[in-house]
């Protein structure tokens, strides 16, 4: 055994020696800034602890230990992020770990957002999955791993790290989509999500290879320098298009949206809220980080493409949602439309539009989590009742649930006094300021059409008589109610006093390298 390790060491040493161009043959290890990587490192360690504890914890405490470790990891990571924030406030923005990890207000705020999303995923997911009897010990591990991947997407300042982060959270989501693995619909949705996701990441990776080939580096700062020097070769334009395919798939932009309705309908409702808010936010922050900051000099080449994608995404999302009869599919198409609105923020490419996009992501996450929590309660075991008709008369059967659902649907429609209205308002305002009034016009028309299908669900809940069959939907348990209450709180508080978050977003320095 020792001999094998020795041979391996000799072999690897000679490999490195052969590969290192420096004459001395001394390898200088990169300086690792442990404070900068602490938030993600803690989450990964937490996930490993959850997976390894099987041998140490007695069977009956295992589930409790998993969930507790998951919550602990998220709290510890939040503290580490707070320390990082404090360091930023002292004016130490920049990059860490050989320039592959950005430490700036954008990264740190996004980390807090993703930790919040992960906390919601545990708060709403654990009781929901227990109700369905598909809760497994690995759920908290997958949630924190996905959170670590999404946080790295926001902080990554190197395209290879972005690719690894993309795969880290995507793989966790593929498994989560397959969580109810013995039912046909979750199986099918997991298969579609996985195959199309792997296909899209191959495009992303090819884009990274071409960027490396033209700019000579995968580092975003070097790429920004390269683009700042003048003409943009056509291969780099191809590379930007390929990277856009990969990220467009994650946010669910048309024409890469085919998986969205199927996965939203097929996967268990308890995990769809996590997937809908997390994967979309991760894709959007990566688009902002890569296109708005690093590729800023190439904006004339990518602006028409992203604007076109945005218009197509809003149009398809809104129009197809009009004819849906399944509530989960409806929310799926509505999330496609929201991806279109968010792409307006990417196209605008100003610091104001970036902070508006972050505000939008926060409020969208709260609303979509809440909406899917209610769907998971109302639809009953195995997501059996997800037709919009199944919501008829909900106001009479479960008035509180109907009222909560109304808040979330009004928020998604963007009607005051919810956060959805303020989010759309600041986003559109930022886009108009950077001269994209025609894009905002399309967004406004799409929002008006979208209001129709959200209001239709509300009318069905309040006006229509319940159908004969008695649904076996239970009252939500206390933890689920707490999660829903929190989501309603965020939706309403951000709608009534948006300054609370706006001032944080303005105070956190959101200027990215390259801008």
């Amino acid at each position: 055994m020792i001999r094998i390790i020795n041979t391996l060491q000799v072999a690897s040493a000679s490999l490195v020696a052969a590969a290192t161009p420096s004459a001395e043959g001394v390898i200088r290890a990169p300086e690792i800034d442990y404070v900068a990587i602490a938030p993600e490192a803690i989450l990964v360690l937490g996930a490993l602890a959850i997976l390894l504890k099987k041998g140490f914890v007695p069977r009956r405490y295992r589930m409790m230990a998993s969930v507790a470790t998951g919550i602990l990891a998220i709290c510890a990571s939040l503290i580490a992020t707070g320390i990082l924030w404090q360091r930023l406030a002292d004016g130490a923005a920049g990059t860490a770990v050989s320039g592959i990890l950005a430490v700036d207000g954008f990264a740190v705020f996004s980390k807090v957002l993703f930790l919040g999303i992960a906390a919601f995923a545990i708060l709403l997911g654990v009781p929901g999955l227990r109700r369905e009897r598909i809760m497994r010990e690995e759920y908290p591990a997958l949630v924190v791993l996905a959170a670590a991947g999404m946080m790295l997407m926001a902080a990554s300042s190197d395209l290879i790290l972005t690719f690894l982060a993309l795969e880290l959270f995507s793989l966790a989501f593929y498994v989560l989509a397959a969580f109810a693995r013995d039912l046909p619909r979750p199986q099918e949705s997991a298969l579609k999500y996985f195959l199309l996701g792997a296909f899209a990441s191959a495009f992303f990776l090819y884009g990274v290879a071409l960027a490396y080939g033209t700019a000579g580096s995968t580092n975003l700062t070097s790429i920004a320098d390269f683009l700042g020097r003048g003409s943009i070769p056509w291969i780099f334009v191809a590379s930007m298009a390929l990277i856009l395919v990969g990220l467009g798939f994650k946010v669910g932009a048309v024409p890469f949206h085919m998986w969205v309705p199927d996965v939203y309908q097929g996967a268990p409702s308890q995990v769809v809220g996590f997937l809908a808010s997390g994967a979309k936010a991760a894709g959007v922050v990566a688009l902002l980080r890569i296109y708005v900051s690093a590729f800023h000099a190439a904006r004339p080449s990518w602006l028409p493409v992203i604007a076109g994608l945005s218009i197509a995404t809003m149009a398809v999302g809104v129009v197809v949602a009009l004819v849906q009869s399944d509530i989960k599919r409806l929310l799926g198409y509505s999330s496609i439309a929201h991806a279109g609105y968010l792409l307006i923020g990417v196209a605008a490419a100003t610091p104001a539009a970036t902070s508006a996009s972050l505000f939008y992501l926060v409020s969208y996450a709260a609303m979509i989590f809440g909406a899917f929590a209610i769907v998971s309660v109302v639809s009953g075991k195995g997501d059996g009742f997800t037709r919009i008709d199944d919501f008829a008369g909900l106001a009479r059967r479960r008035p509180m649930l109907a009222a909560a659902f109304t808040v979330f649907l009004l928020g998604l429609a963007g009607i005051p006094p919810t956060a959805g209205f303020i989010a759309k308002f600041v986003l559109f305002q930022a886009a108009v300021e950077s001269g994209l009034w025609w894009l905002v016009l399309c967004g406004a028309v799409a929002s008006v059409i979208a209001a129709y299908f959200y209001l239709r669900v509300i009318i069905v809940m309040f006006v229509r008589e319940p159908e004969g069959e008695d649904l076996d939907s239970d009252e939500p348990d206390p933890i689920t109610s707490l999660g829903m209450g929190l989501a309603i709180g965020i939706t309403l508080v951000l709608g009534i006093i948006p300054q609370a978050l706006m001032s944080v977003l303005a105070g956190a320095d959101l200027v990215m390298p390259g801008l």
Partner: protein, 101 residues
């Protein structure tokens, strides 16, 4: 024999295109999955070519990352495919059509 750099890049692009076409044409889930692996390896060829022409190790190191990711994808993908096969004894993508609309 001296093969020009561009030949490798064209080879990589062709491999990528074959993988892409295969993914869209074939209906067997496992073959579709193999096509994705082909695309990833086509990218590896491109990375090595660029690294060689720049005299830069970074591109070659990236290939190791990609290989690990490809292996991890196999683990998750085959697990999902096996779960589906157990249920319906078929791995055709056309059979996965419960949801439409």
């Amino acid at each position: 024999m001296n093969v020009p750099t561009n030949a490798y890049l064209i080879f990589s692009a062709l491999l990528f295109a074959i993988g892409m076409a295969g993914f869209m044409i074939r209906r067997n889930v496992i073959v579709m999955f193999m096509c994705v692996e082909l695309m990833l390896n086509a990218v590896n060829v491109a990375f090595v070519t660029f690294a060689r022409s720049f005299g830069d190790v970074a591109g070659q190191v990236i290939v190791f990352f990609v290989m690990v990711i490809a292996a991890v994808e196999v683990v998750v993908g085959l697990a999902i495919i096996v779960a589906i096969y157990r249920r319906r004894e078929s791995v055709s993508a056309d059979d996965a059509s419960v949801m439409k609309g």
